[in-house]
Structures are given as C-alpha cells and as structure tokens.
C-alpha cells in the first residue's frame, strides 16, 4: 500500500512537471476558463430590457398621449423615436434602431369615448424570438393595465366605489433570481461547461501521449497497477479543476454579483465528483483513441456539446426531445448543472442535492473502472 502511494505520488509529480514545462497547457487550464467565463457571460445574455421602441401616434389626442406615456415610463421599453408614417417602422426595423413599434390609429380617443374597444398595433421584430416574445408579453400587460385604469376612471366618473367590488391584481414574483438576471442563471451552469472542457480535454490526451512516447511499455514493466496510473493521472487535474471552480466562483461573485446562497461544501463535493466523472470520461477516450487528434476531437464532442446542450445549461431539459433527454442522463453535466444552480441560486445543501451527488459518484466510479479495463485491453494487444 505504501509502495502504491509512492508510485501514485511519482505520477502526480511527473504530471505537474509536464504541466510546468508546457506554458501553453498552463494557459489552457487557468487562463482559458477565465476568458471563457467572460466571453460567455457577456456574449450569452438572455436579459431583455430597454428594448428600443418606436411610437407612432396617428390620433394625437390627450388619450393617446396618456396611453403612450406608459411606454415612456416603463424600464422595459426605451422610446427612441416618434414616427409619423408606417414606412418608418420598416426603416427602423431594418436599421435595428427599434425592435418594437407601437402604433396608435387615428380615432383612438373617439373609440374609447364611444365605449367601444380601441385597437392599438404592436409590431414586434421577430428576428430575435426571445426578445420578441417578452416584448409581446410586456405590451399585452401594459394594455391590460391601461384598460384597468380606464375602467377605474369610468367607475369614478359614474360615482361607483370599486373598492367594494374586488379587483384581481396579479403580483408576479420570480423566485431564486428575482431580477431575472441571466448571468445568475448562466454562470453556475457555465462553471460546469468550463470544468468539462478543461478536464475531459486534458485527460483525453494524457494516456494517448504515454502510448505515443513509448513510455507506456516502461510503465507496464513496472509493478505499478493500472488503477494507480489512473489515479495518479486524475489527482493533478482534480486539483486544477478545483482551482478553476474557485476562480469561476470568485469571478462570478465579484464581477457578476452571482449569489452563493447554499452550502458551499455541497457544491465542492459535487464539483469533485463531477471532475472525477469527467476525468474518467477523458481517460476512457484516452484509452480507446488511436491517436492524439482523434482523442482531441472525441473530447470536444463528448465534453463540450453534451455539457452545453444536454445539461440544462442552454435549454431546459424538459423542453428538448425525449430521446435527447434520455441521452442527457449518460453525461455527468446534467447532474452537476442541477447541483450548481441548486446551491448557487436556490440555497440548496446536501439534503437537496444528494441524489445528484450519488449519481455523479456512481458515474465516476464506473468511468474509472471502464477506462482502466479498456486501457489494459488495448495495451496487451
């Protein structure tokens, strides 16, 4: 046992030496995650506010003016221009100077005064579906509010007291992320994607490299067991992955104000297990890939795509096709995204995330054993 530990230690020391001698690798594991975080966090934003809005008032009445005032007052819409003709809508949408156009037809105040339903056109630029959907919802809400206001004024004018009538007023609150900032939502998931990329990619090439260098045969004629080699290869990357976790958490909290509401240790244990599972996956690639290039491509396919697309990071898991949902169970990212968001945003601890932790632990173990076996099978050809 002591000898085994010494051997594992020798591998760990050697791996760190490789890392220290290769500045590009160091760059890849420390600087790249930071750049990825900044890029992703700034580039991918699902935040929708200050939508540039064009208003055209054909009615030019006090009523239409009051109606449009609502848009001016809303933080969601930014009224950037007041138009006079419909052609301006096309121009504004084409130039991307506006994404929403509110058009009040002439006769708006007259229709209201005659107790009929007035119509307002809301044109939405659909080329950005997410923004379009939300703009639509907001303008519908604004119209309803205005309608209510009119009702109340009418009642007042009629001398009715509506306070005894009972009106329904929705109070919408978003839990866990009250301001609905997408960075809060993205960064805990992003951490998982970045971890997957760093760990799988790096370990995927490590065993292939031993084979290419011919050092594998020298390792084989030593008393070292395969599992010792695997563990020795995993430990340095686990440490580095932890460094990345700390880095991303730190940056997320300071730069993006992402809250860390839950049990940090649950996150740490989750990250450790996820890293082990990902590294196991990397080793498996390494054990079966015939060349460094193949290993790199396989790592990209297995690490990046599933953790990006099938983890719940970019798309909610219950909204993707069922067979993709099934595939998502085969990758550790989905468990970790759920742990990460749970801890960061929902204030979760061990009590809440233990099923995911167990899944990751089992996953990691299975990966390690399979890659050990596969590595052995290949080498004794």
């Amino acid at each position: 046992m002591r000898q085994a530990l010494i051997r594992v230690g020798a591998i760990v020391r050697k791996e760190f030496r490789h890392l220290g001698r290769d500045p590009r690798m160091l760059l890849a594991v420390v600087i790249t995650p930071v750049i990825q975080l900044l890029l992703f966090a700034y580039a991918i934003s699902f935040d929708v506010d200050h939508v540039p809005t064009l208003v055209i008032d054909f009615d030019n009445s006090p009523a239409s003016e009051r109606y449009l005032q609502q848009y001016e007052a809303s933080p969601f819409f930014d009224v950037v221009a007041h138009g006079t003709s419909l052609a301006e809508v096309d121009t504004a949408f084409d130039d991307n100077t506006a994404r929403v156009a509110i058009i009040v037809p002439s006769g708006f105040s007259r229709t209201l005064a005659s107790d009929a339903t007035a119509q307002v056109s809301v044109l939405v630029d659909g080329s950005e579906p997410n923004a379009a959907k939300i703009s639509q919802a907001y303008s519908v809400a604004l119209n309803q509010l205005y309608g209510q206001q009119l009702t109340r004024e009418w009642a007042d004018a009629q001398g009715l007291d509506l306070s005894s009538f009972g009106l329904l007023e929705p109070r919408i609150r978003t839990w866990y992320n009250p301001e609905r900032r997408s960075s809060d939502f993205l960064i805990p998931g992003l951490m998982v994607v970045i971890l997957a990329i760093v760990t799988v990619q790096q370990t995927a090439v490590t065993l292939v490299r031993e084979r290419d260098l011919g050092t594998q045969e020298q390792l084989e004629v030593s008393p070292m067991r395969r599992i010792e080699l695997m563990v020795g290869k995993l430990l340095p990357w686990t440490l580095i992955a932890f460094l990345d976790v700390a880095l991303i958490t730190g940056l997320g909290r300071t730069l993006f104000d992402v809250p860390l509401r839950g049990d940090f240790w649950a996150l740490a244990v989750g990250a450790a297990l996820f890293v082990f599972a990902s590294l196991g996956m990397g080793l498996l690639i390494s054990a079966i890939a015939p060349s460094l290039d193949t290993a790199n491509i396989m790592a990209m396919l297995i690490a990046f795509l599933p953790s990006f697309l099938l983890s719940g990071f970019a798309f909610a898991l219950d909204q993707i096709p069922v067979f993709l949902q099934w595939i998502s169970y085969a990758f550790p990212a989905r468990y970790m995204v759920s742990i990460s968001r749970g801890v960061f945003l929902k204030g979760a601890g061990f009590a809440e995330v233990w099923p995911e932790l167990v899944s990751l632990a089992v996953y990691a173990l299975v990966m390690l054993v399979i890659s050990s076996v596969m590595y052995g099978r290949r080498s004794s050809r």
Partner: protein
C-alpha cells in the same frame, strides 16, 4: 525477490509464436539463454527480433508457446519477471520534457527503488556513462547516443539481472556505439545477462552467443566461433585496378565457393585444396587483370551471415550479399 543462483536459465522459450494479422512475426521459436551470457539476436528488419523481446519483457502476449525468465512464466507470473528485467525498447521512450535526472528518478520510483538508492545509483550510472554533466538537460535535447545511454542508465536503476535491449545502437554514431558496447561489456563482467537485438553484424563479435533470426525463426545459433566454423573454407580479398574484371576472372575458378564485390575489393570464399593465392593469381594473370593482389583475411560476421543467409551459396555460384 529470489537470488540469481537458480538452476533455471535466464531465458527459456518453447514454441513461442506471435502474429500480427496475417504476418507471422515469431514462428514456433525455441530459445535458451544461459545466465551471464551476452546474447546477440541478429537479423534484418522485420525478422521478429522486437516481437520476441517484447514477449520476453511481458509487454506482448504470445499467441502460443511458453517463455520463462529465471524460471518464471512471462504470461502467468509477469509480476515476478518484471522486477528482474530491464527492458529497453527500440524507440526512445523517455519523457522528452523531463530532464535526465527526472526521467531516471521517475522510472526508478515506480520500480520501487528507495530514495537513497535512487540518488546513489543515478550518480554512479551518470558518472559511468559520461552523462554527469547533462543531468539537468531535458531528454529531448540530448544527442542520439546520449538518449540511448539515458535509456540504458534508466533501465539499470533497479539493478535488473537480465537486460532486454532492442536495437540499442541503431541510428547511433560509431563512437557512441563503441562506448555503448564498452558499457555492456562492463555489465557482462558484473554477471548480468544481456539479450541484445541488433541489425549490425559487426556487433555480433562482441557477444558470447548469437542467434540469427529470419522470418520469425532462428536460422543459426551458437558462439561466434561456432557460427564462423559453419562457413566452409577461407576468406581471400582480391584487389585490382579494375575490381569488376577481377570478379569476372575469379568467379569461374574451381574451389571458389562465392565471390562478391565489397567496396573496391573482391571477397572470395575459397574451399579449394590448393593455396588460394596461387590459384587465384594464376587465373587473374590469365585474364590479364592489372595490378592484382590477393590476401587472406579473417572471416568477419558480415561475410559469414551474408554467406549463411544466401540460399544460392553452397552450390558453387557466386553469392551477392
């Protein structure tokens, strides 16, 4: 760990076979290497030398047959074989980005050598091989000869009793080759058993025993003297201003086993009863070859194997190696 004083030979192989796809690399091979021997495994590229060595080193499984090292099976008792062997593969297999000292230390550590032993042995090995001043140099920046010495030094760190060296001098300059063999001679004196594969026939002379391997089979086996004795007759070198004319002139002389050009001399294998100088001189004079001279030389391995490997020799035809 057992002591070296066992009755079993260092290596014993029976009916060893291994193929890759349709290619039979080692074909039902029998081999016995006694303790303390410097056993040369000679043969052209693709003869099966590497395959045989890798099977003996436990890194490749035989398809059939059995091999043992110091009495332990290489297939079922690999963990008892590996502590006693040092295996040096044909290609450079050290970490290029690690220094000489780091490479030696790493492989010795995973071999279970204690820290004090590692330090002492590395110092003396590096000193003995003339690598002491390159201790901190990265392996990738070493010359070809130094790389081979580093591999050998690393192989010796756990003090193996049997060294399996796969073409350790291929691609190494002549000076480094001589030095490498000087080191092997030292190991031989220290009682180590060495199995060394080489494509260089001249290296065979430095072995205590040799086997000539071709197409996965041992074609010749014995001590260098025994092998040489298999070649009938004496070796004569004929020099002339026009070597080709000389070759044509001596080819047909009765008693000439084989004749071929080697540089600007003609090498003749003579098995006639008369003195070769006179018989050949007469033939050359009769053919009018200018400036001809003959001289008997000692048979070297190159010629011996050229003769033995050539299926046409022995029938009286001129052999071309």
């Amino acid at each position: 760990m057992t002591t070296t004083a066992t009755a079993a030979p260092a290596i014993r192989a029976r009916g060893l076979r291994r193929s890759f796809g349709d290619t039979l690399a080692v074909a039902d091979l029998d081999l016995e290497v006694g303790e303390g021997a410097v056993f040369g495994l000679l043969g052209p590229d693709g003869a099966g030398k590497s395959t045989l060595i890798r099977m003996l080193a436990t890194v490749l499984r035989p398809d059939a047959g059995e091999a043992s090292v110091f009495g332990h099976s290489v297939t079922t008792e690999a963990n008892r074989v590996t502590p006693r062997i040092g295996y040096m593969s044909q290609r450079f297999s050290m970490y290029p980005d690690l220094s000489v000292a780091e490479n030696m230390d790493f492989f010795a550590t995973i071999r279970g050598v204690s820290k004090t032993d590692r330090r002492a042995r590395a110092a003396s090995l590096l000193e003995g091989m003339g690598l002491a001043e390159f201790t901190r140099r990265q392996a990738q920046h070493l010359s070809g000869g130094m790389k081979q010495k580093l591999m050998l030094a690393t192989t010796l760190m756990h003090e193996p009793d049997l060294l399996l060296l796969d073409e350790p001098t291929t691609g190494v300059d002549p000076v480094s080759r001589r030095e490498f063999w000087r080191i092997l001679a030292g190991l031989h004196r220290a009682g180590k058993t060495v199995l060394v594969a080489t494509p260089y026939m001249d290296e065979a002379e430095r072995c205590t025993h040799i086997a000539f391997l071709d197409s996965g089979r041992i074609k010749q086996f014995g001590t260098p003297d025994e092998i040489k004795a298999q070649v009938p007759g004496r070796l004569v070198e004929v020099s002339a201003t026009l070597p080709r004319a000389a070759l044509a002139a001596v080819k047909a002389v009765p008693g000439v086993e084989s004749a071929h050009l080697l540089g600007d001399v003609v090498r003749v294998l003579w098995s006639g009863s008369a003195e070769p100088e006179q018989a050949l001189g007469a033939a050359l004079a009769a053919a009018g070859v200018d400036g001809a001279g003959t001289r008997e030389v000692a048979a070297d391995m190159e010629t011996v194997f050229a003769y033995l490997a050539d299926p046409s020799t022995g029938s009286g035809n001129a052999g071309t190696p």
